[in-house]
Point group: C2
Chain length 87, copies 2
């Protein structure tokens, strides 16, 4: 399935969540990762996110779409993911 992850996380944990998401997905933009995952990997990712974040204050949203052709992506401005490698 195609997965988009966005996070809104306290600065102390930003590096941890980035490091974790990089294992599963591709960096797209500031606080956005995207990629293809099996249902099993998706479940693993959810568990790992739960270990890294402070559930009282941090927020992570996972959008998933079974068929990637169902989702269209349009970029306005600079495509950050291909021009910068800063994570």
């Amino acid at each position: 399935m195609h997965v988009i992850v966005v996070y809104d996380i306290s600065i102390e944990r930003v590096n941890d969540i980035k490091k974790l998401l990089k294992k599963y997905l591709n960096w797209v933009q500031n606080s956005v990762f995207e990629g293809e995952l099996t249902l099993g990997r998706m479940k693993e990712l959810e568990i790992d996110i739960g270990k890294v974040i402070d559930k009282e204050n941090d927020s992570v949203i996972l959008y998933s779409i079974n068929n990637p052709i169902w989702i269209k992506k349009k970029i306005i401005g600079k495509e950050k993911a291909t021009t910068e490698n800063i994570i």
Copy 2:
């Protein structure tokens, strides 16, 4: 169609993009908006975004899905949109 917008924008223009996106969509999380738009409204939004951003440096991604049932949303941690109204 269901639309998710994420942005990575220079601090000077963050308030402008938030104000613009609020006219079309609902705030979900830091730099993420979401909602239903007709194709016409989607085109208008794309034009308006082009007027607000600096295309050399800023980046806005619009994900669109024709049928909202195709997309699943899972929140881990705090659901920011319903607990805070800070935009």
